[in-house]
Subunit: 225 residues, 2 copies
DNA sequence: TAGTGGTCTAGACCACGAA
DNA sequence: TCGTGGTCTAGACCACTAA
């Protein structure tokens, strides 16, 4: 452990390609067996901090490109430097219909939280969001009061989504949506359906409708191998 | 290596949670040192095939949820069971403008391939795509004839994109787009801008405009840590 | 040729989980 | 208590890279 942390501090902030101390160098420096040093370095290699080059040495790796962390509306807006607000239109327990039940991997009729919000950022209406939560995993969710950030609230219960599948479509605003979103009917909107999982449990499914003039979705893909 | 492959075959197809042979069991079975066995198992753990549980044993891991592989139009349609076709509208070398140059991390005026296509699947018009390729990385790209699948062509040159950032927006179709896409002007369309990298090299940047009635985008997010 | 990482040996003691 | 994985020792030989 001590070797690993020593090397971690050594290379922290070093630019990619900088050589790390060689294994034998660390052996004599710490008076430790080579296998021990190797395991320490292996851990850093797995973390993506070091790269081994057989015959040449061990070097600081270039940081791996990441696919950005799964986030909800609040965090998404915060990343854009905006403060998210929301106006609850509906919040109640319901019996899951067949579609929601399948998405949440529960049975039709099981209890779900249905929460509908109009979401603003920087004071401007951005989207209309219908979210269904797996109430089995979140007993008494509504009783504890409505949070601002759903994902924060889920995180508090150890259920922050770590994986999601989204389907995204352009469409024309329906009349009721248009009124809430303060646009003309038939204006283009972006529809986003999400099914979010925390570990292996389906936690949340949602449908959001975004004003196209105020929202651009951004995703990073790949490099997950 | 032989231990690793032996265990890999043993557990292949086994359901998650199945115990793998213990380390000491493999030691006596192969007449090999325990460190050797551990390294073999470590490799499989990193691959996500095994999980260690200290004090309990080593078990077949549940397959990690993946974010789907980065793909282009051809592959995307193939996943939906459709054959992608394309009609080239324009294909030539150009000097990069400032926007494209920045996205491709080259200098303004550097040579880029500009390729504009109308893309169909199952015989139906789906989208209009403008792609710019980093010609510095792809000398003589156009001279070799136009491929059907851009990503396959890039893969042949060892430049298959492994990471991309996409921005997605809903919009109303412009007149010229509407005509090519065979819809009415102002119909909702989905706009997708992509900047795609192969390792650390910016290879491709594109803008696509999809008919909203014929295309739903699907993405999987997260679990990349 | 000297130095590097890759692989391997034949032991050892520890903390932890299950019975 | 017994078996498990986690960590460690003090060496060894190999293939590869660079000078």
């Amino acid at each position: 452990m001590v070797v690993r942390e020593h090397v971690r501090e050594l290379i922290q902030g070093a630019s990619p390609g900088t050589p790390a101390p060689s294994e034998r160098e660390l052996v004599s420096q710490f008076g430790v067996a080579r296998m021990t040093v190797r395991q320490a370095l292996d851990a850093l290699v797995v973390e993506g901090l070091l790269e081994r080059m057989p015959g040449r040495g061990t070097f600081v790796a270039r940081p791996r490109r990441r696919t950005c962390r799964l986030s909800g509306f609040t965090e998404d807006m915060r990343r854009r430097g905006l403060v998210a607000e929301s106006q609850t239109i509906l919040a109640r327990n319901e019996k899951a219909g067949p579609g929601v039940a399948r998405a949440l991997e529960i049975s039709t009729g099981d209890s779900v939280v249905h929460w509908k919000r109009l979401r603003r950022a920087g004071g401007l209406v951005i989207c209309l969001e219908d979210v269904y939560l797996n109430e089995v995993l979140l007993p008494g969710f509504l009783a504890r009061g409505l949070p601002t950030s759903l994902y924060d609230a889920l995180a508090d219960r150890g259920l922050r989504p770590t994986w999601a599948e989204d389907t995204i479509q352009a469409d024309a605003a329906a009349e009721d949506e248009a009124e809430l979103l303060e646009v003309e009917p038939l204006c283009p909107v972006l529809r986003l359906s999400r099914r979010a999982m925390s570990e292996d449990r389906a936690v949340q499914v949602s449908r959001s409708t975004f004003r196209s003039d105020r929202f651009t979705m951004y995703v990073q893909l790949g490099d997950a191998d």
